[in-house]
């Protein structure tokens, strides 16, 4: 349990400390240190789970099983690498005079606070606390979005705050309904929101209430996942905030929101399995519908972007839609694919955002028209962006291809006709990405464009991991995915 507590405490304390002394020179270094420590403890935690199996016991407030343990490690990893990227990036921003030390303090504190909420949301066993953590994540990041205080950033932050706040409030209503349903079957009111307990009694939960509750939770957490049509906040928030935050938003927040959604889906499925007035597939079908919608619409949006960060945030929406579709589809194969996709997407997308950050520094703008000839100017950044985009577009031997392959084959098995929109969507999204990418990375270098001090090691690390996952999935990870698939769908693959 120590590892677990450390994983939670380190970011919390770091956040407080940075909140107080954040304007000191060593703040960035301390930030990196804290994230590293967090990563170390999360790996420790993972090792423990690897040896002893699920943690947290029957009615504990924390619950670590194969579904969230790798997400915890992943969160810590992306948090660490991104902090390593953010150090030179933020220094550059300060040099450009866009930020003062006060803002940097806010930035570092919020960064750690955000990481804390993420880990809390992942580790907790209590759906209420999960909600609190999700809301906390919004609160922690909203001030980051408006960090630059430009009119656009303030606008984006306000929209982010209101849309997500309302959404998350609806999620709370869903949670209340859930509690209401649980109160009838679970004597001990204190345990009535513990996921592990609910999962056991899910069969007895009231289908009707659960259906309504799931709708609220879907709309609520779906807003955070970025499902169309609740996605509207996402591109604004990604494009206006500092790039490291875009990286963690895309890489972590969306994942965690989806994680919450899947957790409640498990319960709903259990409740609806009994039958009644709703089809047992209700939750799954809803998720499939939203997933497909988001996937298609986001793919179309890609074509008309003028801002590079908006571009990739839409690609995030697209991929979240794909994962939602996968989990909605159910079945071990699709679920396995979805879990894998969560991992590779957050790795790849955060890597891309890191490259994008450097690119926008090189070109001194975020507008796609302004970014030209990256490979000529700074090959590392140009190739990083190119390779990352190729990976996210689903080219082997990168892991994204593997998960999409699994997803497509699963769809082919159960709903063959759905493969048509999927393939069309993939094609459209692909075209949308590359038509913008081509002029940015290739071509002659514009006049007076010079290389910047960039730290591309995070990108290299992420891409190597993604490549590894594409070539061969390590056994322990495959086992985790498999157990998670058992947890979610009741059936295993291996």
């Amino acid at each position: 349990m120590t590892a677990l507590y450390l994983t939670l405490l380190i970011p919390l304390l770091a956040s407080i400390l940075l909140g107080v002394f954040g304007n000191h020179r060593g703040a960035a270094a301390f930030n990196m240190l804290a994230t590293l420590a967090g990563f170390a403890t999360s790996v420790w935690l993972a090792l423990i789970v690897l040896q002893q199996g699920p943690l947290g016991g029957e009615a504990g407030q924390f619950h670590i099983d194969s579904f969230n343990v790798y997400l915890i490690a992943l969160t810590a990893l992306v948090g660490a690498t991104t902090s390593f990227f953010s150090t030179p990036y933020m220094a550059q921003e300060e040099a450009n005079g866009r930020l003062g030390p006060g803002r940097l303090r806010l930035y570092h504190a919020s960064y750690q606070g955000f990481l804390f909420t993420m880990q809390l949301a992942l580790t907790t066993n209590n759906l209420g606390v999960l909600w609190v953590a999700m809301e906390g994540a919004t609160l922690a990041t909203v001030l980051l979005v408006s960090l630059y205080r430009t009119p656009e950033s303030v606008e984006a932050a306000w929209k982010y705050f209101i849309v997500c706040g309302v959404g998350i409030a609806l999620a709370l209503f869903g949670t209340v309904l859930l509690y209401f349903a649980a109160a009838h079957v679970i004597p001990d009111a204190e345990h009535a929101l513990l996921w592990s307990v609910l999962a056991e009694h899910s069969a007895q939960l009231q289908p009707v209430v659960m259906a309504i509750a799931f709708v609220f939770l879907l709309v609520g957490y779906g807003t955070k996942v970025g499902l169309v049509p609740m996605h509207t906040w996402l591109p604004d928030a990604h494009s206006e905030g500092p790039t490291p935050m875009s990286a963690v938003l895309s890489g972590l927040l969306l994942n965690v929101a989806l994680y919450a959604l899947v957790r409640v889906k498990i319960l709903t499925d259990g409740a609806l399995a009994a039958g009644g007035m709703h089809s047992p597939q209700l939750a799954g079908n809803l998720m499939m519908g939203f997933g497909l919608l988001s996937f298609t619409v986001a793919g179309l949006f890609l074509h008309r972007q003028r801002d590079i960060k908006r571009l990739f945030s839409y690609s995030s929406i697209e991929h979240m839609g794909l994962m939602t579709f996968a989990f909605g589809l159910g079945g071990p194969l699709a679920t396995f694919g979805g879990l894998l996709h969560m991992t590779v997407h957050s790795l790849t997308k955060s890597a891309i955002f890191i490259a994008v950050g450097h690119a926008s520094h090189i070109a001194r703008t975020q507008s796609i028209e302004g970014i030209r000839g990256l490979i000529q100017t700074q090959p590392a950044v140009g190739w990083g962006l190119l390779i990352g985009t190729a990976a996210i577009a689903g080219f082997p031997p990168f892991g994204v291809f593997t998960s999409e392959f699994l997803l497509l084959s699963a769809t082919m098995k159960s709903h063959p006709w759905l493969t048509v929109p999927l393939l069309t969507g993939l094609g459209v999204a692909f075209a949308g990405l590359f038509r913008h990418l081509h002029p940015m990375v290739y071509g002659e270098r514009p006049e007076g464009q010079v290389a910047v001090s960039a730290n591309m090691w995070p990108v290299v690390l992420h891409m190597v991991l993604v490549l590894w996952l594409g070539l061969a999935i390590p056994t322990f990870l495959a086992d985790w995915f498999n157990q998670a698939a058992v947890l979610i769908t009741g059936k295993g693959l291996l």
Binding site: W158, K159, I162, V163, V166, G167, L170, I212, V215, L218, V219, T223, V228, P229, M230, T232, W233, P235, H278, L286, V297, L300, F301, H303, R304, I375, Q376, P379, A393, F395, P396, P397, F401, T402, F405, L406, L408, S409, M412, K413, P416, T419, L423, G427, F430, A431, F434, R435, H438, Y442, G443, E444, G470, L471, A472, I473, T475, A478, L493, L494
Partner: protein, 677 residues
């Protein structure tokens, strides 16, 4: 040496050469001494392994660690794979001979050599791996590796926009094609259990699903092979890539697509339906004719060659279509004949198309010209390249005794067996396809008379061309190798057919035993008195005939010495002839342009500067013709417009007004609540 070891070597050597390329940024000469030799070694190993598998008719399966937890990479060596290993190996070796000389001009270019070398290695690895892959996953990985790396090679010189545009188009279509291939595998895997090819073979398919899988396969592999109207990327991408890469792409990669198609339809799906054959035959005939007609209108040499690849792919698929028809209607022997014809033409096209692209590369490097209108008289400047290019032209124009003729002859022979068929419709369709093939062949000959006549004969039209000199030894050797092979496969078809029998046996259980029944001298597809062709004797005959005429001259030669005299070309008495009076490629094809006018969208532009005061005596006239690909107008433009319109509509969602956003969530919630109650 064990085959598994060889296989690993075949797959790892090119990869190694790719990795080695990273050292060339510091030490460019390594390109010559390490990277390309490794590539050549890989090619030779592939030839060795493939040849071994093909001749000894072995079938072995290997399982490698990578892949999915429950589906590791399966590799399988069988004669079909062996055949294509040989094909890839030959061209790769030739390219690795050609490369060192050719890439020298890139050493001081804008782009680092390492990129070129690395992706070349990756590209070859991908192609070799596609051929041996034995499960859908590894197949797709290899396939996409091939596409992606070749894309990076196409955009290698990305400073000029043409490369970028071509690269984008190419990658996009490759992606779409790959997805539909994946889908067609998905159908098979859905009915069988799992993605290994064994499971897919076992899959029990009803006709509908089989047809769907087949259609998807045609779409996917046709996209890569360049069946009309899916060919548009090809004339864009092949010309802009470095020439040895164009040789690999046009000569080998298209064949890998053919391999995939054969593997899918004859092996995995198994029992082919004759209707597929008819559909394929029609598409293929259109492709062949379309390809050659567009080739005629080009004056960019490499672009022209690319269109000829389209044409030859059409011919190959004609053979496949015929073979399907005959298999489907219960004539396995004739089906095998068609299949052999197709395989043979695949091999031949790989040889002479690579030869021609290498030749074009040599010309490009020496004269810095790709435009025919500016060439001329190159035969005197680059005699060896000229000779080998001529051999390539003869082979691709299907003239005896070279290899192109044999495969087209076999295709004709297949088509001629049509009276056996019961269905009158088929009997009526096939001859028309044959007519198309004949027309295609004749037009191809015309086209290559144009190419060779304009580029290598006559007088040089520009100074750079006049200054050009012979390419260096390696480049010439590479062409020599391919040219000799063109001749050999033209003279000894029986040996080749014998080898291909192994392929057909493993695929369909049939062999074309009759073809070589009368000994190595005689190629008799069906029976001796139906049709026979003795390439060796024809070759001897050519020599004898030349001898005879020489003899004739000797007999009738005049008494007394008469030596040849050189003089000026007759100029009809108007002053000296200038190179600009020669026929250009545009003027050469003018009659054909008039005959087949509706096929192209011709854009003519005529600029005439008339002298002041003398309107009737123009000082200068510029006349340009550009034949635009009609598929753009009829097929691609509508799609793009649709996409554009849709995206514009969709983007209206993002109004920027917060209350609209909230309204979205609100309405969604209400809808869902209403939905579930």
């Amino acid at each position: 040496m064990s085959t598994s070891l060889l296989l690993s070597a075949v797959l790892l050597l090119p990869l190694l050469s790719g990795v080695a390329a990273f050292a060339t940024d510091r030490q460019p000469s390594l390109m010559r001494w390490l990277v390309f030799p490794l590539l050549g070694l890989a090619g030779l190993t592939a030839v060795g392994l493939g040849g071994h598998v093909l001749l000894h008719n072995t079938i072995e399966t290997f399982i490698y660690a990578p892949g999915l937890p429950w589906l590791h990479w399966h590799f399988r060596l069988d004669p079909l794979a062996g055949f294509f290993l040989v094909l890839i190996g030959i061209v790769t070796s030739a390219v690795s001979l050609f490369g060192p000389g050719y890439v020298r001009e890139f050493e001081h270019g804008k782009q680092p050599l390492s990129v070129l070398g690395f992706f070349t290695g990756l590209f070859v690895t991908g192609m070799l791996m596609v051929v041996v892959a034995a499960d859908a996953f590894s197949f797709m990985v290899a396939w996409e590796l091939m596409s992606l790396s070749s894309y990076f090679l196409v955009v290698y010189q990305h400073q000029n926009p043409a490369n970028r545009r071509a690269g984008f188009l190419y990658l996009l279509m490759a992606e779409v094609g790959a997805l539909s291939i994946l889908l067609s595998f998905g159908v098979l895997a859905g009915f069988g259990d799992g993605f290994s090819f064994e499971a897919m073979r076992a899959a029990p398919l009803n006709l509908t699903w089989a047809s769907i899988a087949f259609a998807l396969g045609v779409l996917g592999f046709g996209m890569k092979a360049g069946l009309v109207p899916l060919h548009v990327w090809l004339p864009e991408a092949h010309p802009v890539a470095p020439s040895h890469i164009s040789a690999l792409m046009s000569g080998v990669m298209l064949k890998v697509a053919v391999y995939g198609f054969i593997r899918l339809s004859f092996d995995l799906i198994g029992d082919v339906h004759w209707a597929w054959g008819v559909a394929l035959l029609i598409i293929a005939s259109i492709t062949a004719l379309f390809g050659v007609l567009y080739a005629l209108m080009q004056h960019d040499l490499k672009r022209l060659l690319a269109y000829h690849s389209v044409e030859n792919i059409g011919i190959i698929f004609m053979g496949l279509g015929l073979s399907m028809i005959f298999y489907g209607t219960g004539y396995p022997l004739l089906g095998t004949l068609g299949l052999v014809a197709a395989l043979y033409h695949t091999l031949n096209h790989a040889l002479f198309k690579s030869l021609l692209f290498l030749g074009a590369g040599a010309v490009l490097q020496r004269s810095h010209e790709r435009d025919l209108e500016r060439m001329g008289g190159l035969l005197k400047r680059m005699p060896w390249t000229g000779l080998f290019f001529l051999i390539g032209c003869i082979s691709i124009s299907a003239l005896p005794p070279f290899n192109g003729f044999v495969s087209e002859w076999l295709t004709f022979q297949t088509a001629l067996q049509v009276p056996n068929l019961e269905s009158g419709v088929l009997r009526a369709v096939i001859p028309i396809a044959a007519a198309t093939l004949a027309l295609t062949g004749a037009l191809a000959a015309a086209c290559f008379v144009k190419v060779y006549g304009i580029a290598f004969l006559g007088k040089a039209r520009t100074r750079r061309v006049r200054r050009s000199s012979e390419a260096d030894r390696g480049m010439v050797l590479a062409q020599a190798l391919l040219a000799v092979l063109c001749l050999l496969f033209g003279i000894f078809p029986t040996a080749a057919v014998n080898a291909m029998n192994h392929v057909t046996r493993t695929l369909t259980g049939e062999t074309l035993s009759t073809a070589t029944a009368n000994g190595w001298l005689w190629l008799t597809p069906v029976s001796a008195d139906t049709a026979s062709y003795s390439a060796p004797l024809v070759f001897v005959g050519v020599l004898l005939a030349l001898l005879a005429w020489a003899l004739m001259y000797y007999v009738m030669r005049p008494t007394g010495r008469v030596q040849t005299e050189r003089g000026d070309t007759w100029d009809c008495g108007f002053g000296p002839l200038s190179p600009r009076m020669q026929y250009t490629s545009t003027s050469f094809t003018m009659p054909i342009r008039r005959i087949f006018a509706p096929v192209w969208r011709i854009h003519e532009e005529l600029e005439r500067e008339s002298q002041p005061g003398l309107p009737l005596e123009p000082k200068q006239i510029r006349y340009q013709v550009h034949a635009e690909d009609v598929t753009w107008k009829w097929f691609y433009a509508p799609i793009m417009q649709l996409l554009h319109a849709t995206t514009r509509r969709v983007s209206r969602i993002q109004t920027g007004n917060l209350r609209h956003y909230l309204a979205y969530s609100f309405v969604t919630l209400l809808l869902l609540l209403w939905l579930i109650t």
